[in-house]
């Protein structure tokens, strides 16, 4: 039984499930590292998922879909940035409003353009990497490694590159230092000549772009369709991954993989254990709560996270 669950396909699907969580979670890292809470990731993801399928279907080019999703994520990020950075509104309220807006606008536009709330993607990205060798052509281990790591949607590889770049940018460049400083102690950063508002805008727009990309993967690559509320709380699970990953790219990726593993396992167990499917569906959410509770005390958010910056005028 063990072998039938934990085979190469299982780990490959764990990775695929983890990708949107990791991307959105990284969005959360950027935003919160700069001092802006972003509850709106869920809505940005949902809008990205819709836009991606819609744009890909209209242009018959999946890359246009991916690009459009990133773009719409940036637009929603801009709305969040304007309300919460420029107007210093409550960041959670702004995020909630973005989620409400996303739920409404995606269904509204689905009706308007497609006359239904489930839209099949007419085109998909090609598979990149090494083709899977036939059974017996190579050794089982090599075949498994190819299935798990080297045979995926381009977005999987792009995600890995993004994470490497994000880690490098945040922790090894002056830009990253400035970004983290405005999230820890904006007054000091301001005194040192860092433009707090600008840094926060960049971070929030980046988080929108990443959430949009996550949404694109969800609809275009994972489901091959868009349906209303397809994001299903993943934006919030991504936030849980971010917290569990202590607000670092590497940690967030690890936590996202843990969630991917949990969800893939719950899908596998459906056919094996005599548990009603509704209880299996609860697993990712229960796991998120459990992970949050266990992260407490170890995970410390950026000091100025969630606090609008008031420039002292004097």
């Amino acid at each position: 039984m063990f072998g039938t669950i934990f085979n190469a396909d299982f780990f490959a699907s764990s990775i695929r499930i983890a990708i949107p969580l990791a991307l959105a979670g990284l969005g959360g890292v950027f935003s919160e590292k700069s001092g802006v809470t972003n509850i709106g990731l869920e809505g940005m993801m949902l809008t990205g998922a819709f836009t991606s399928v819609a744009a890909a279907n209209f242009s018959h080019n999946p890359w246009v879909g991916v690009f459009a999703a990133v773009l719409i994520g940036i637009v929603l990020g801009l709305i969040h940035a304007v309300t919460s950075i420029t107007f210093k509104a409550n960041q959670i309220v702004s995020g909630v409003a973005i989620n409400l807006f996303a739920s409404g606008i995606t269904v509204f536009l689905s009706w308007l353009f497609f006359n239904e709330t489930q839209i099949m993607a007419v085109t998909n990205l090609p598979i990149w990497g090494v083709p899977i060798p036939a059974q017996g052509e190579t050794s089982g281990v090599i075949r498994s490694l190819i299935v798990i790591f080297l045979h995926h949607s381009p977005l999987v590889f792009i995600t890995v590159i993004i994470f490497v770049l994000a880690h490098f940018t945040l922790f090894k460049t002056p830009f990253g230092l400035r970004l983290r400083s405005v999230g820890e102690y904006p007054e000091a950063a301001d005194t040192m000549g860092v433009n707090v508002i600008k840094m926060r805008y960049i971070a929030v727009l980046a988080s929108g772009a990443l959430a949009g990309l996550a949404g694109s993967f969800l609809s275009l690559e994972q489901a091959h369709f868009f349906v209303k509320e397809i994001s299903g709380g993943r934006g919030f699970i991504a936030l849980a991954a971010m917290i569990f990953g202590k607000w670092t790219p590497i940690g967030t990726a690890g936590a996202a993989l843990l969630f991917g593993f949990g969800e893939a396992l719950s899908i596998r167990l459906q056919g094996i254990l005599e548990i009603p499917v509704q209880f299996i569906n609860m697993v990712p959410y229960l796991l998120a709560i459990f992970v949050l509770v266990s992260a407490i005390g170890r995970a410390i958010p950026p000091a100025a996270d969630g606090i609008p910056y008031e420039k002292e005028v004097g």
Partner: protein, 374 residues
């Protein structure tokens, strides 16, 4: 004398910011309607005239406002304690299911016992579901926003499991036609558990009112809940403590108020309010449980609370406005033959929230600037 007038003007301005936000949102909505090639003036005319020009319209508006009053109060109450209860949706699922279960299980009880019992079950179910994020927040500090959202999804799965377990037997007509229930729903609750419709009351007073109108006694329960929330928050020790924690947890703790205790209590009361949606949707309308009945009320409650500035009176007014938009939006959808999807209303509601937040800040800035000048 003049400066006093000016202060009054600004405090008035502060109070009517939601109104300004609504007007701006309607303008944005008009833009959207224009973009999709329809006439905004016609659309708004259909929307408001159908909702407000006759008793049937008003009945429909109040019927749609009632659940939003409950969920709006739920969000507002928690907010006064500094908590963001985004879990109204899940708390509502559990509370309404428990009330329905009581309603179709204890069928031999008298209405005088069964109705209060159902209401109690609704509140208890919501309170129980809200207690989890409350306790986790109070004891471990886990942010309530993420936990309440997770609890929403868990509640959705759990009630889906329960509704299949307590699924109504197929009716004779369905057996004859060989069809299954498309959307699973439970058995009906007992006659004794049902709340009377307003129509019955108005008929006995000889006031003309359509018999098919669904507005029921639950509206008055919602108003009573709003008054109770006002009383608790501003006239009791508990309310004082909850508001103190909401204002500054550190100061409250220093003043000898238990932050943990008040966080849990605020969440529990908030959840109970969300559960009371059962009185309108189950006890006053469908008499059974079906998930589609409730979807969205929890989230719209957030918008209602924000628009109502987290004050019970504001919540009631905001809920009625949303009732107008929801009912009018449905009519517009029919009137235009589906060319204007009713989700336009959802978009409008979200835009209202964003504008409320922004206009609050703008007004605050204007006032600050004026104070500095004077």
């Amino acid at each position: 004398m003049k400066s006093k007038n000016r202060i009054n003007f600004y405090s008035l301005l502060e109070k009517i910011t939601p109104l300004i936000a609504v007007i701006f949102a309607l303008l944005v909505g008009a833009g959207v309607i224009l973009i999709i090639g329809e006439d905004p003036i016609f659309v708004y005319k259909v929307l408001f005239s159908n909702a407000l020009s006759n008793r049937d319209g008003w009945g429909n508006v109040l019927f749609r406002a009632t659940p939003l009053i409950f969920t709006g109060l739920a969000v507002a109450f928690a907010f006064r304690c500094g908590l963001f209860n985004i879990g109204g949706e899940g708390q509502m699922y559990i509370g309404t299911f428990l009330a329905t279960w009581v309603g179709f299980t204890f069928t031999n009880l008298h209405a005088f016992i069964l109705i209060p019992l159902c209401i109690l079950a609704a509140a208890a179910g919501g309170a129980l579901w809200a207690a989890v994020p409350g306790i986790l927040k109070a004891k471990t500090g886990v942010h309530e926003v993420i936990v309440t959202i997770m609890m929403n999804w868990i509640a959705s799965s759990l009630t889906f499991f329960l509704v299949l377990k307590f699924k109504a037997p197929p009716t004779e007509a369905m057996v004859a036609a060989g069809v299954k229930q498309m959307i699973p729903h439970t058995r009906q609750i007992a006659e004794a558990a049902r709340l009377p419709r307003i129509y019955h009351i108005l008929k006995s007073l000889n006031i003309d009112f359509p018999s098919y109108n669904q507005v029921n006694i639950s509206f008055f329960i919602a108003i009573a809940a709003a008054i109770l929330v006002y009383y608790i928050l501003w006239k009791t020790n508990l309310g004082y403590e909850i508001r103190a924690v909401g204002h500054s947890p550190l100061a409250a703790e220093y003043g000898g108020i238990s932050v943990a205790r008040n966080i849990i209590l605020a969440m529990v009361i908030s959840g109970a309010l969300a559960g009371l949606v059962a009185t309108n949707e189950v006890m006053g309308f469908k008499y059974r449980w079906r998930q589609e009945l409730f979807t969205g009320y929890g989230f719209n409650g957030i918008a209602v609370a924000l628009l109502g500035k987290n004050h019970p009176l504001g919540v009631v007014l905001a809920a009625i406005l949303f009732g107008v938009l929801n009912y009018g939006g449905a009519i517009v959808n029919i009137f235009t033959g589906g060319r204007i999807p009713r989700e336009l209303i959802m978009v409008l509601q979200a835009v209202i929230v964003i504008f409320v937040v922004i206009s609050d800040e703008v007004v605050k800035r204007i006032i600050r600037k004026r104070r500095k000048i004077s």
